[in-house]
């Protein structure tokens, strides 16, 4: 187990056992390593074991088998958790508090000194877009709760941040703000463990991604590695009237069309160039030619439905 890693698990297994119920295995031997200073994305369908993994890393659950180290230490050690921030997916804020008192309490639980809290709380409320908020938490909208949840996760200036669906309930501007915040935190050397259903967001900010399926790691790599070239090329034409379409059909029979864009599937680059030469000879006026990459979402669906195996 290395102290240089932010998160390290070995053969981590978790089986939920309840009286009168069949044991349910949530994690089946998960081994992964997360380096410090990266944004790490965890993907998986509902019930894939993502939240269970995060809870094990936060010592909210005890593993049935295997080991987990966080920042090189045992997550059950309270001193380890003082260096961690966590935004849970299902968060129940104490209704009787206001933003300031809630953050103060959360900070105190993490051992942050009162004088530090006096300066950090207003700054964080400003950062998450809740400056001078005086309402009790029971009157908060989902988006406001999420912003406050993010603020409490950042209160102890954590080295490692676990964010479970951080943009849930936020408007597009709020999502962008969260993405920018994550990138700036990474620039400051923080490690972020991101658990999200929004694959486009994972694709935008994550350095490494792991896909969990039925409690096991089925793929890991960078978003760029997952977004592979499909072999297709997108050729955008200046205009796609009947005459042009007929000309293209004569060169590439059965080509797929999307308005004035035609998709070509050559066997190799030489064949693509030959196709373009023939189209230019017709003449067909070409605006752009670009390779088509699969999105992370498409890759994810392939993996979890077994199409990509």
């Amino acid at each position: 187990m290395s102290a240089e890693l932010a998160v390290q698990t070995q053969d981590l297994e978790m089986t939920y056992r309840e009286m009168w119920r069949k044991p349910a295995r949530a994690l089946a031997g998960v081994s992964l390593e997360v380096e410090r200073g990266v944004i790490f994305g965890l993907l998986g369908q509902n019930g894939a074991g993502k939240t269970t993994l995060v809870k094990l890393l936060l010592s909210l659950l005890r593993p049935t088998k295997g080991t987990a180290r966080v920042l090189g230490r045992d997550p059950f050690d309270a001193r380890t958790r003082r260096r961690i921030g966590y935004l849970p997916e299902q968060m129940r804020l104490p209704e009787y508090m206001k933003a300031h008192s809630f953050l103060r309490y959360m900070g105190e639980l993490n051992g942050v000194k009162s004088a530090t809290l006096n300066t950090r709380i207003p700054a964080l409320l400003e950062l998450v877009g809740l400056p001078g908020e005086k309402k009790v938490l029971s009157a908060y909208s989902k988006g406001m709760q999420q912003r406050l949840g993010l603020a409490q996760a950042l209160l102890n200036e954590p080295d490692l941040l676990f964010l479970d669906e951080p943009t849930e309930g936020l408007d597009p501007l709020g999502r962008k703000q969260v993405r920018d915040l994550l990138v700036s935190l990474r620039a400051g050397g923080k490690t972020i463990f991101l658990n999200s259903h929004l694959l486009s967001e994972i694709e935008l900010v994550c350095d490494r991604v792991v896909i969990l399926n039925r409690g096991a790691v089925v793929r890991q790599g960078t978003p760029a590695e997952f977004a592979k070239h499909t072999g297709e090329y997108r050729v955008r034409l200046a205009e796609a009237g009947d005459a042009v379409r007929a000309a293209v059909e004569s060169v590439v029979p059965g080509a797929r069309w999307e308005n004035s864009t035609v998709y070509l599937s050559p066997a190799n680059r030489a064949q693509l160039n030959a196709m373009i030469d023939r189209l230019r000879a017709v003449p067909v006026e070409i605006e752009t030619v670009e390779p088509v990459h699969s999105t992370l979402e498409e890759y994810f669906i392939q993996v979890v439905t077994g199409e990509g195996t």
Binding site: L58, L60, L61, A78, R81, Y86, P88, R92, M106, G111
Partner: protein, 271 residues
């Protein structure tokens, strides 16, 4: 960090209806009582105290009957309200969504548990000392009557509640709703006196086998002696003596054991 948990528990108690009712009642009782008490002098210059529209009594007699009345309220109605007020405070931080926030922080779990236990006990003790202590101090200030026996008796009463709270806390570790500790507290309030009087109530007709009697004897020895503590507090108020220390130290052992076991269960608990 435990101090922050205690403060939060007290803040939450005001938000919760049962806690608020306890606090309101503990303010109303002294206002009502002090408003009723009349202190004056007889024709021969002796101090006399009376309740509004009632016969006057010698100061010592009046004080003792008032203290006894307050102590009886503390040992009955107040325990009932205390159970309802304390149970949610012992459980709320274990609720789904809230536990994730709190348990993942850098405070050891035993401190979270003990903070809620102490917070609930402080709430109850404060309400007792407001409800009973303020009228008692008023009487002392106006008549000079001694408060020593009353204060010790009130402390014994709070100690009995702390044992009940320890039992509820233990139940809370295995429960998913505050109904369970409340139920257990009421069951024990009913069965506690029967256990104390087990030889007269059970052994004649109900439990005749030696094994059964051995089991009930041990159950009595292990569980808190709340009903005997209530009797001890009344006796102390009347006579200033403690007949037997057995209910005290055996209950103290129960409290220590129950809290240690609860801390261990809390440490092992999954969220």
């Amino acid at each position: 960090m435990m101090g922050a948990v205690i403060r939060d528990t007290l803040r939450e108690s005001i938000f919760r209806k049962a806690g608020l009712v306890l606090i309101i009642f503990s303010l109303l009782v002294p206002i009502f009582l002090i408003g009723m008490i009349r202190v004056g002098h007889t024709a021969d210059g002796k101090l006399e105290v009376t309740m509004k529209d009632m016969h006057s009594l010698p100061t010592e007699v009046f004080a003792l009957s008032t203290f006894m009345g307050l102590l009886d309220v503390a040992n009955s109605f107040w325990v009932l309200m205390g159970v309802f007020a304390a149970a949610p405070l012992l459980m709320s931080f274990l609720e789904k969504g809230r536990a994730d926030l709190v348990i993942s922080k850098g405070t050891p779990r035993w401190q979270l548990f003990m903070g809620h236990y102490i917070g609930a006990l402080v709430l109850y003790a404060s309400s007792i000392f407001l409800m009973a202590g303020v009228p008692a101090v008023y009487l002392w200030a106006r008549t000079g009557v001694s408060l020593r026996h009353f204060l010790v008796a009130a402390c014994i009463s709070v100690f009995a509640f702390s044992a009940m709270l320890a039992l509820m806390s233990l139940a809370a570790m295995g429960a998913s709703h505050s109904a369970m500790p409340i139920f257990l507290a009421f069951v024990y309030t009913m069965f506690g006196p029967l256990l104390a009087q087990r030889k007269a109530t059970f052994y004649q007709d109900v439990i005749t086998s030696k094994w059964g009697q051995w089991l009930v004897d041990w159950l009595y020895r292990i569980l808190p002696k709340t009903s005997e503590l209530v009797m001890t507090s009344r006796k102390y108020l009347n006579a200033g003596v403690v007949d037997s220390w057995w209910p005290m130290w055996s209950t103290a052992l129960f409290v220590a054991g129950a809290l240690a076991l609860s801390c261990w269960l809390m440490h092992r608990k999954s969220f």
